[in-house]
Symmetry: D2
Subunit: 382 residues, 4 copies
């Protein structure tokens, strides 16, 4: 059995069905079956950029043709990301024209204005920033304090959560210039934990209390990311105003029919920094719209995620360490017999399923590759 067969088998084992064979892709009429997809990474010098390199460098159906960082002129990766020193890669300041797909890990507002550069070449855009996550143009001034310059594209872009939008991702792959708005880390954790409840219209009232490692704040040195400040401390931040609220409301609000979940609009979302590097745990406190039983909850989650390669519904409350370094998410949901409330917990690695891994997963779907390709690495513990 070859490595790719093993990979397929592993994927199949989790899917309970054989993964789709990689079909000929029509994107730009350039790809043939078996050719690796040529990809570029913009924002390659940050933490998310490093994760994209780490994963794409070993992706069986991909070739990295360009790493891009501001004002870089061929700097070896070893000096930028010492852990990747064995890769013979350099960082330049421009995206190669022959890239078929571009992963962009840039601050908000940085992609919206230059999107045509990629679309004009027929490149798939996988934007790991927020510029194409929200469909309503009014959400950009509201959450990000800028007017979106390309509001015309917001409807065509797909929110890159394959567990919710797999068919749409596959659909945009059939034409050049697909745009994926890859979800935020908190949003992914929270939406995955709550989607089965939202679909069933069960969320009357919602408090999401989330805890994240510091890598989500990026690599730039800041006073409050200094080891001396973070270690042995927990603190809340972005109180009442965290930008991922927009995504959470959009995605959960779209499930279960209009106004099915009165608790989603106006969700009480609190992000907190805990002294660790990776990982997010979202504790989602729900007052249900009607009394529910545990059996009902179990069925909802089993139906939603039983066939998903990267989502595991677990029996014991999950820890962030259970998914460290992997593209997995784990979800857990219980009703509290004492007060009738429902608690759903989701965990993931914010840099993988919360960023780089999820972007690659969506890219795989868009490009007709096996969805788990390049993402099979198991969690690292302890």
């Amino acid at each position: 059995m070859s490595a790719s067969e093993t990979e397929a088998a592993i994927a199949a084992d989790r899917h309970h069905e054989p993964p789709a064979p990689r079909s000929a892709r029509a994107i730009g009429q350039r790809a043939l079956v078996g050719d690796p997809v040529r990809v570029a990474i913009v924002g390659a010098t940050g933490y998310v950029g490093a994760e994209l390199i780490r994963l794409l460098a070993l992706h069986p159906h991909v070739r990295i043709v360009g790493l891009v960082g501001r004002e870089r002129k061929g700097d070896p990766i070893a000096g930028i990301h010492p852990h990747l020193a064995t890769r013979d890669l350099k960082v330049y300041d421009a995206v190669p024209a022959d890239a078929e797909a571009v992963f962009l890990a840039l601050p908000h507002g940085a992609v919206a204005g230059r999107i045509d550069e990629f679309l004009d070449r027929g490149q798939t855009v996988i934007d790991l920033g927020p510029d194409f996550r929200l469909h309503d143009p009014a959400d950009y001034p509201r959450w990000y304090h800028f007017e979106h310059p390309r509001a015309d594209l917001l409807r065509a872009a797909v929110y890159g959560l394959p567990e919710l939008h797999r068919a749409e991702l596959a659909a945009i792959g059939r034409a050049p210039g697909a745009i994926v708005g890859s979800p935020g880390c908190y949003a992914t954790t929270t939406i995955l934990a709550l989607a089965p409840l939202a679909r069933a219209g069960l969320i009357a009232d919602l408090v999401v209390d989330a805890k994240s490692g510091v890598s989500g704040a990026g690599r730039d040195p800041k006073a409050d990311l200094h080891f001396g400040e973070v270690n042995e401390s927990v603190k809340a931040y972005g109180i009442f105003t965290h930008r991922h609220i927009g995504e959470i409301e959009q995605e959960l609000g779209a499930l279960g029919g209009e106004d099915a979940n009165p608790g989603v609009r106006g969700v009480d979302f609190l992000p907190q920094l805990v002294p660790m590097t990776r990982g997010i745990l979202s504790a989602c406190h729900v007052r249900p719209t009607r009394p529910v039983t545990q059996a009902e909850l179990d069925a909802l989650y089993r139906d939603a995620y039983g066939d998903e390669a990267f989502i595991t519904v677990v029996d014991a409350a999950p820890a962030t360490k259970h998914v460290y370094g992997s593209n997995e998410a784990r979800v857990w949901c219980r009703v509290d017999e004492r007060n009738g409330r429902v608690l759903a917990i989701g965990v993931l690695d914010n840099l993988v399923k919360g960023a780089a891994g999820q972007a690659i997963q969506a890219f795989n779907v868009v490009h007709g590759l096996p969805e788990p390709a390049g993402l099979l690495q198991l969690p690292l513990a302890p």
Copy 2:
């Protein structure tokens, strides 16, 4: 200015009034003005025991006359708590008869059955376990799964949160055999964060999402306290059943008049372990019983805590590190204009204001000593 004057001045500065002079105590008719109070510590080998030693060893009005640990026969403290090696103290297996006050840091159920041993000698009992925290005997089988053998004493014991029960603590000090049920760490954080809201009858719905360092789980080696398991991980535990819920319901429920705060009974309380040694942050998510303004909240908290030595109402959301190693608690409360909800956050060091320090603070009140005596140490950061 002598050290005690400095201490008094510091205390006065924070109280905005001179601290009460240390009056002659009547307890057992044994004490005279100026004599140190003779104290013993039972459970001296654990983390809370170590904190009691650390603080009481330098308490200006106390003399440690006995350290007690199971099956200890004069073991030097250096072998048990290496950080206290400079203290010339030993641990024995019995409480000295001439102790005037006994601090007990023992598992639940361990004090209730032997309380007469202390009361018969007229010793003040400061129980850092839960045996005398709850007033309703029915709460013991409910939260702790045992029938309380001395239900007759539960009403006389005072819940040792000086900020709520100062007068009662002072009152029981006027007769021998006072019993203080020193509060749990999560309960203290949560009650302090919410008391001003509860007094105003503002809590319609309540989710308390709390995060704690691991020292709260005690010193015994356990698989899930192994550094390899805790580091780089967050997880929930004690879900739906944490014992401190009983205290929170009792104390907040007693404020503001009967049924003033429908959200308190049936509080959704979730404890979580984060990778740090000390510190608790309680994020208290409140749906208020009526619309509130920020000015109103500010007034409530200022009135509640303006004169308290150990509680600081802060303008910026507090981090646990801001109170590390000290007896301070910090609270912060804001209304979210977007959805009308209220968020109150409290932080403290679970081993000090959440355990040993608070016990000493209550002891000071009971014994007529200056309330901040022995507790002035400032937080340690970074």
Copy 3:
């Protein structure tokens, strides 16, 4: 390009030559080209066992046919290693007879007495404990305090450091019943950092000051592995008596000719615990036997490791995080112009290149598989 081709290409790229094709193996006359090797893991419930599972589960030429843990009767892996919950594996109490290779992660002395059980079946033994690392029977009472019951096998066993013993590992693979004594974590770090100097007979005097994360101490809960004890602390342990000294003296002593390195015998080796989970850094302080230049050192290290897939000679002093979760080691060596001394630093992940990864690397060589198979995962940072 298939995944296995990608893997081969990546390996080739690092080797600067094509990896050896996987030839027909004669072991037990059972294997044919392309069949996966059937492996079992004994000691599957510990940290090293978990790493073996993590890596072997995705090894392209391996099938796990048995996980073995004391008194286990089919326990699902999810309950033992929650991070591996997506694997459909169970742990039993016996090694399957049809396993071709057995990885043993057991305490010292546990394998020596039962080795015939595996040899009689023609199984390759990869012992991750110390029972077959030392060639001189007298070293066992000296460092491990037991008389070795199978001293007759100590010469035939190969010390499983492929960078030093590749040919011997390949040689024992040509007959059934090969025994590999997989090196200790500290020993691997130290030997790799110093081998080029030892080969050149440069070590006149040697101090090795090593720092390790706590996972090297195993998974059993112990008082000094409690998060509260480890966090924010550094301490030395095993002072003067650490068992890996035997391996270091044996392996470095064999390089460069007899008595070429007077500093090796009697090495001053100090292990220290630092507050992290994974990683070892060995700082090797050498007084050289004669003056050396940096150019000479550079040449020695380049010659030694230029073709090695897993050893990288770096220009900037390496951090343990640079190899986190990977099978890589990094070495760095400099002469101090001020005093003529030489400093060599090595880093690795104690659970991968220091344990499970290295064992798989040696297994690959023994079984004629591509040496990097299953070990290409890149380091995880931040």
Copy 4:
């Protein structure tokens, strides 16, 4: 017993003799018995500045009359050091003229050029930077790359390690304008660990392998102090060139007579960063000038430190956590019977005994105050 009596008693208990009574000080003819000494802190916004405030704010014989930070105009301390928010202090941009002593926590070179500003007012200068640590002007270009502008003062300044220079510190206190060069953190740990050996002329060869928490690198945000970089990592830095080598050579070189310790000049000193906030452990590997017995070592250390308030010679190898937050240092020394080498280990908290605490200790001696005043706080563990 008053607090100051308790403090005196505690100090006396450790000293085995009563502490010297606070005599009338002649400094500037301004002080009377019992008046607090007026002190200012320059560099109050950094980590060392915060520690000075933390300790001096509760010092029984001190009044803080000025906090100074660059371009500060009365900023409340709460915004700069949130953990000190309960102190009613502000930071300004100038040193008050009526301060009797000034603590300076500034980068190297910042004090040398403005020293007259303080001397002209008769203020005691306690410089926590390196400008007055080294006596030989040639050491400044060598280790700090600047020519010292006031080489004339270097001999008059006292190296502020009270355990080695107590008499000199007391002596300079008898005239205005005393200068104390407060030692570096690594230097203190190393010198205290080795002084007894150096005095006995036992150091033939010396490797000092030191590990530090990150607070020693200061508060400014830097890429390599980001939590994501530091956590789960160990690395060496300042290799061959660390500036504290100059202090170590100067101080140890002065003990035991000229050339008594050939290993001191040219010491192999290696600093390393470990993932913790506070603490230094110096492992000092010594090849002795002649064979030594453990009894001899025990006697040397007992004689050196038996009467010291802040140095404890311990039987079990110390961990940095044993002294966390306190002014204590612990030392341990053993001969390795296997190879005749000697290992000395010292630990301390780099911000207290390695910086702020030690500076206050020296200040106390200079100003005739009880040496342990303000420094009695016990270590904080876990």
